[in-house]
């Protein structure tokens, strides 16, 4: 079962195609990280799935129910990208009210548990108007999960939060994942996405450029595995032959007497290089393998 499935989903504002025919499938129970530069169309995409805006064309289904569907809203939790809270309502009242709007009324104990989860238990009876930005963000996350939804949309859940709160929110997301919830989150924090998401989609100019697990994404970029090998000095008689062989194996970047750096297309090539050096009786002191970071993949995209 797919928690989210979109077919040719498109949103146009005037002549500007913000989301361009996106086909996406998110399996139940996974955390999908949605990356993209500002204006890439991430929030527009989430807003279409959550009923905030209507798609221009295409279709989507949430939890196997064709959207837009008002009944399915009870089973989804949404933390919109920008939203103001009602300044005159306390954190507790917010949660109770919004759960009731979802037709899933909750007890005070449940509200307190959720507020504890997001680290707002001491502010439970404070009015949201007096909250800091970070506290508002936490309350927005709390309201998204108060009614125990199966599918959770989090639009930049940790932006603007202090380091401690970010760790707290990451733990919370992991906890929700362990409970079998499907989480769809956008973020600008690449480390965060790399750390907690099971799959990552990178959006560019309204389209999904790359999508897959971190390993799959790296596989696209295997040519950029950079290997630096520190070794004993190479005899001058061996040097031209070895240099020639290395050129055939990968793209040589740097060759010094006791160290060289090379780009290879797969991990197997690293083993081949090590074996070749052994043949020439060269001792290997250190091998540094630099796989592409999400940041490099993202920037390349």
């Amino acid at each position: 079962m797919f928690a989210i499935e979109t077919k040719q989903l498109t949103k146009t504002f005037g002549k500007n195609k913000v989301v361009d025919q996106i086909d996406l499938q998110v399996k139940s129970g996974e955390i999908l990280g949605f990356l993209g530069r500002n204006g890439a169309g991430k929030s527009t995409f989430i807003n279409m799935l959550t009923g905030i805006i209507q798609p221009s064309s295409g279709s989507y289904s949430l939890l196997d129910v064709q959207g837009p569907n008002d009944d399915i809203k009870k089973q989804i939790g949404v933390m919109p990208d920008y939203s103001a809270l009602n300044a005159s309502m306390t954190a507790m009242k917010h949660l109770k009210f919004l759960a009731a709007v979802s037709e899933k009324p909750v007890s005070d104990e449940r509200c307190m548990d959720i507020l504890k989860l997001v680290g707002l238990e001491e502010q439970a009876h404070k009015k949201a108007g007096k909250f800091s930005f970070g506290m508002k963000k936490k309350l927005a996350i709390a309201q998204a999960i108060i009614h125990d939804p199966q599918l959770i949309f989090l639009d930049e859940p940790t932006s603007g939060l202090d380091a401690e709160s970010v760790i707290h929110i990451h733990q919370l997301i992991q906890q929700l994942h362990q409970q079998g919830k499907t989480i769809f989150m956008t973020s600008h924090n690449l480390d965060e996405v790399e750390k907690i998401c099971s799959r990552i989609a990178i959006m560019k100019d309204g389209k999904i450029g790359k999508m897959g697990s971190m390993d799959e994404l790296r596989a696209y970029y295997q040519s950029t595995i950079t290997v630096t090998i520190k070794h004993s000095p190479i005899r001058s008689t061996h040097l031209p032959t070895l240099e020639q062989w290395l050129t055939l194996t990968g793209t040589q970047l740097e060759m010094k007497t006791s160290q060289f750096t090379i780009h290879v297309t797969s991990e197997k090539k690293i083993a081949e290089i090590i074996r070749a050096l052994g043949k020439y009786n060269i001792d290997i002191y250190r091998v540094d393998v630099n796989e592409p970071s999400l940041e490099e993949i993202f920037l390349d995209e």
């Binding site: 807003n47 959550t50 009923g51 905030i52 805006i53 209507q54 008002d70 809203k73 009870k74 989804i76 949404v78 919109p80 920008y82 939203s83 103001a84 809270l85 009602n86 005159s88 009210f97 919004l98 009731a100 709007v101 979802s102 037709e103 309201q143």
Partner: protein, 230 residues
């Protein structure tokens, strides 16, 4: 829908404006009940129908002249404030848009029903009778004002503009509506069927017509809100 109605009902009592309006209604009801007998003792020829509603005429008059102003003054930003501040996003991601509009309508309407029933009860203390027909007409009239207010609040995104409009419409609406009822100009007269005063002109059940119009206005408001991006 029920949660939204409940919140709107409670929120309607908060602030200085509802307190002033409730006070105006209660004071009017008190003096209406207390002094309506003076009208009866004056040498004025009232029809039987007029005599029936004489005790509540002040409340009816208040609603006809200032009703639109009161309702719009209190609720002009019921939708656009939420859209402007984007608090609406918490609602549209949880329930249907029609439930939001109907929930808000019912919550505020119930506030007015409570105000009117209380006023009519104050009058009944003095005159020992409860004028049900006028109460139904009054609540229907308020429902019309409210539906129109919600429609404008969906149509106009800026709360500041609907506030300005509430004053202009509050003054112009009763004048224009009265004109449509009493004019013989056919170019204007047809509009009386779309406005509420025609249906409460006499003590009968024509007020049901107002409730039908309320349904149409809310339907239009929902249709527009369904296309609105929040």
């Amino acid at each position: 829908m029920l949660a939204i109605s409940k919140r709107e009902f409670i929120e309607s009592f908060k602030g200085i404006k509802p307190i002033i309006i409730i006070a105006i209604f209660l004071i009017t009801a008190y003096y209406s009940g207390k002094f309506s007998d003076l009208l009866l003792s004056a040498n004025i020829d009232f029809t039987a129908e007029e005599l029936e509603g004489i005790h509540t005429i002040a409340i009816s008059g208040l609603l006809i002249i200032f009703g639109m102003l009161f309702v719009m003054g209190l609720s002009h930003d019921t939708m656009n404030r939420e859209m402007h501040e984007r608090t609406i996003r918490f609602l549209v991601t949880r329930t249907s848009r029609s439930a939001i509009i109907i929930g808000k309508f019912l919550g505020i309407w119930f506030f007015w029903i409570v105000c009117l029933v209380t006023s009519f009860m104050v009058i009944s203390i003095f005159v020992h009778k409860f004028d049900m027909i006028t109460l139904f007409q009054a609540t229907s009239l308020v429902a019309y004002y409210l539906a129109l207010t919600i429609l404008l609040s969906v149509l106009i995104p800026k709360p500041g503009f609907t506030m300005f409009l509430s004053i202009v419409l509050g003054i112009a609406f009763p004048i224009f509506n009265s004109w449509t009822v009493f004019t013989s100009n056919p170019w204007v007269s047809w509009m009386k069927y779309l406005l509420p005063f025609y249906y409460i002109n006499d003590r009968n059940f024509y007020f049901v017509g107002i409730l039908l119009l309320v349904g149409v206005i809310l339907f239009i408001a929902i249709a527009i809100f369904n296309r609105r991006e929040c």
